[in-house]
Point group: C2
Chain length 486, copies 2
């Protein structure tokens, strides 16, 4: 999983065509043009991927204000609740060895760490690689191996903000290949969650890739990731285990247009980007690869979600998803292996609000919001160059009585609402309304985990810091309600 | 050649992925993500394709007002000048038999017809299939076989505007297959210009394709064209002549967003559409196919133009382009066959004005204009949902002293001008300015052909009308300056 826009993939029309390995993966596998993440933001999407549940259920949202995006910065107190069952916890029961490489983002305090939630190994960081910090107001973010930190970004793991040079993707690649080697040698089934972050601002690439793209630094980072994925797939083939390995490529949210053009990607023909529930924020590139099982070169129109990877992976491992809780992910195997299209809705949430729903080719917006006038006036623009009157609104607009309806086939860019007075509108809303009513009537929101912030919980003294002499003194605790402006 | 947006191709990211035959053509051939038409409008682009020259040279422009798009509606007096040498005229010298199927658009008066300019056969219409008309204020447009009309649209060649049903693409396909059969049987080298028009508003598709697309009627039309192209390519293979046939697919202008969403296509990540010199108006889908000669599955970053097809086709036929006039098309063969990238500029003209130029990855705008406030206020919008301040201007804005510069690699959507004060701006403009200066200094504009309109020259009594009893009485001649609002 990575941060990448739908339109960044050559197979999805990026004009520089700089993803030959991902395009090849699609040619050998199955491309999903209608695949979604569970949230327009990283932490909740990753929590949804690993729990198979919407963030509103697993607690990765906030109630501090209406319809606000929230994530896990250093000052967040919460994280993934123990009551949630994560994919690796369940896979363990079938003998799988589980590793996460890269960004965790489900809580940085020790009780939330990957090894407390089913992973056997971890190499990477609990938060985004922001910085550098002065270790007084903010600590530099730690990098972990398993349960202990082995250094900090900008100190031990360099990122040159001027040139954009960093060697991290190469380290992540080596970690992946080593892990695969070890599992193959010991005949162990494994789950590898390769959660790289080179395309997240501040964007980085290693020396060999810097300046090689037609798209600037962001393109360099995409090229390095593409190259690494090609190497991982070839490695699986070399080891002779590609025919027993299900590989899935996707992203946790749309390209962050706010970082464009130098550090942001492309959402192709779609509206707006990260932070919004327009298609640019939540439609993702997605490729399934499994030579010999998944037919090559197929395009699958199934409406898919990152949460489906939870359910599908469990079934592939001979397990069943938990039946004591609502699971939102569906089994993709009938769609992937037998070409059966499953009729299911896609819900677009922003914090505690269901903003929109997609059913078939139609999408109904119950709320619209890009961001507030106040943030927008500071130059924060999630829809640069795009402005659809009444759609990309800068106030939270409620449409629950008369949802804004779009036909995403004729109008993938959400520019032309279907007319309220038309027979088409009436017929489609008759189909969508009961689905939404049922969803809302049966929804039991989880305890919100992203409400409280406290500077004292930042990464001052992570486990293992004492061995490195890298412990810092935390300030006194002062919990407050986090401020989520978007 | 057809009217289709860059983003309408599955291979270029249309999310419905409904062009399996064109995608297959790309997989077996070469995809050009940086290919351009010569004008954001149909007639001048087609004149440029067939002459290898910019419209400003071959006369397909107007001087009635500054920077205005002009074409060949029924009331136009002008057409392609006799002094221009067209591709089929030249190919004839090498023994080629030439046929055009579909829309001619280089002048509808008899002296301008295809058979007067090198074509041996013609099936189609001289103008767009607008209508139906009452044959009093406007005559219904004629359909020709060779030199004589054989009927009129809406009378003999039905287009049902309510359902969108018309059988024309199937007729055009049959014409193509028949022509190819005959040339193969007589061992005759041939040039087929398959200029279909189903995706031009009013959009149409035949019964078998109506309602089959996820994208509505426009998608139905695209699917039928895609299907037809697949059949033509398979036919070449079946006849055993695919290895001696160079096939090129492209479009004459970007998707007409003004007809969206029901009758307009997609320009993918690019800005605006038809009628504008932003990328959405002039960057085109383009695929070269020649099994055995052109390597399969390649992506070629050569900056290409429809005018290159003139030069390239002549060289393939063992001929040389005329040396008594300026030819703008270059030979694509080194790029196609040997992977050599040729450094050449792309000029973006609107009428008599060079609006922009692309050199390498950079594009400099010397003038910006979407359309006038007056037209815009009537609801005519060439950039629906898009608004880039200072770029998609509604007044003609001159930037000749300080061109607006974009890096199309980082920023394919032309949203973020390179800062004037930056070293990048200075270095790039040092490279671009001499190219523009030289182009302007050596330019000899042709006599403008699209200045005069007259209702008397409309298709009242085309050749052959008397045999069909379909001659209409023209009004008295009253030549006036054509009004070109865009």
């Amino acid at each position: 999983m990575m941060r990448m826009g739908w339109g960044d993939l050559g197979a999805f029309g990026e004009p520089s065509e700089e993803t030959p390995n991902l395009d090849q993966m699609a040619a050998e596998g199955m491309l999903f043009p209608n695949f979604y993440t569970a949230n327009p933001l990283c932490s909740p999407s990753r929590a949804a991927l690993l729990t198979g549940r919407l963030p509103i259920r697993n607690g990765f949202y906030t109630t501090n204000a209406h319809a606000r995006n929230a994530y896990t910065p250093q000052e967040i107190v919460g994280g993934i609740p123990d009551s949630e069952l994560l994919l690796p916890e369940l896979l363990k029961k079938a003998g799988y060895v589980n590793k996460i490489i890269g960004k965790w983002h489900l809580g940085h305090r020790p009780q939330f760490h990957p090894l407390k939630h089913g992973f056997d190994e971890w190499f990477g960081s609990p938060n985004c690689h922001f910085g550098p910090y002065n270790n007084k107001d903010f600590p530099n973010l730690p990098v972990y191996r398993d349960q202990e930190m082995i250094g900090r970004y900008y100190e031990d793991f360099k990122i040159d903000l001027k040139t954009g040079e960093a060697n991290l993707t190469q380290i992540y690649l080596k970690e992946a290949l080593d892990f695969i080697n070890r599992q193959q040698a010991s005949q162990q089934p494994f789950f590898l969650y390769w959660a790289i972050d080179a395309t997240h601002a501040p964007v980085y690439a290693s020396k060999d890739f810097l300046g090689t793209s037609q798209r600037g630094l962001y393109g360099d980072a995409v090229r390095e990731i593409d190259d690494s994925i090609g190497k991982i797939l070839k490695h699986l083939q070399k080891l002779g285990i590609s025919k027993s390995t299900f590989v899935f490529f996707t992203s946790d949210n749309g390209a962050a247009l706010i970082s464009a053009p130098k550090q942001g990607g492309s959402n192709g023909p779609f509206l707006c980007g990260k932070q919004t529930t327009f298609e640019g924020g939540m439609r993702e590139p997605a490729i399934a690869w499994w030579p010999g099982r998944i037919p090559a070169g197929q395009v699958n129109h199934q409406l898919g979600s990152v949460m489906d990877l939870f359910t599908t992976s469990l079934l592939l491992a001979g397990l069943h998803p938990p039946d004591d809780r609502q699971i939102d992910g569906i089994d993709l195997l009938p769609a992937v292996l037998q070409g059966k299209l499953i009729d299911r809705p896609i819900f677009y949430y922003r914090g505690n609000e269901m903003m929109a729903v997609r059913v078939g080719l139609y999408k109904a917006h119950y709320w619209t919001w890009s961001n507030s006038w106040e943030e927008y006036s500071k130059g924060i623009d999630f829809c640069p160059g795009q402005n659809i009157s009444g759609v990309t609104t800068h106030t939270q607009e409620e449409h629950t009585l008369l949802p804004l309806l779009f036909h995403l086939g004729r109008d993938p860019g959400e520019k032309y609402p279907v007319r309220f007075a038309s027979p088409e509108y009436e017929a489609v809303m008759k189909r969508i309304s009961p689905i939404v009513d049922q969803h809302k009537a049966t929804l039991v929101p989880g305890e919100p985990q992203l409400n409280i912030c406290d500077r004292a919980v930042m990464n001052w003294a992570p486990p293992g810091c004492e061995k490195l002499g890298k412990c810092l003194k935390p300030p006194t605790s002062n919990p407050t309600k986090c401020f989520w402006p978007h």
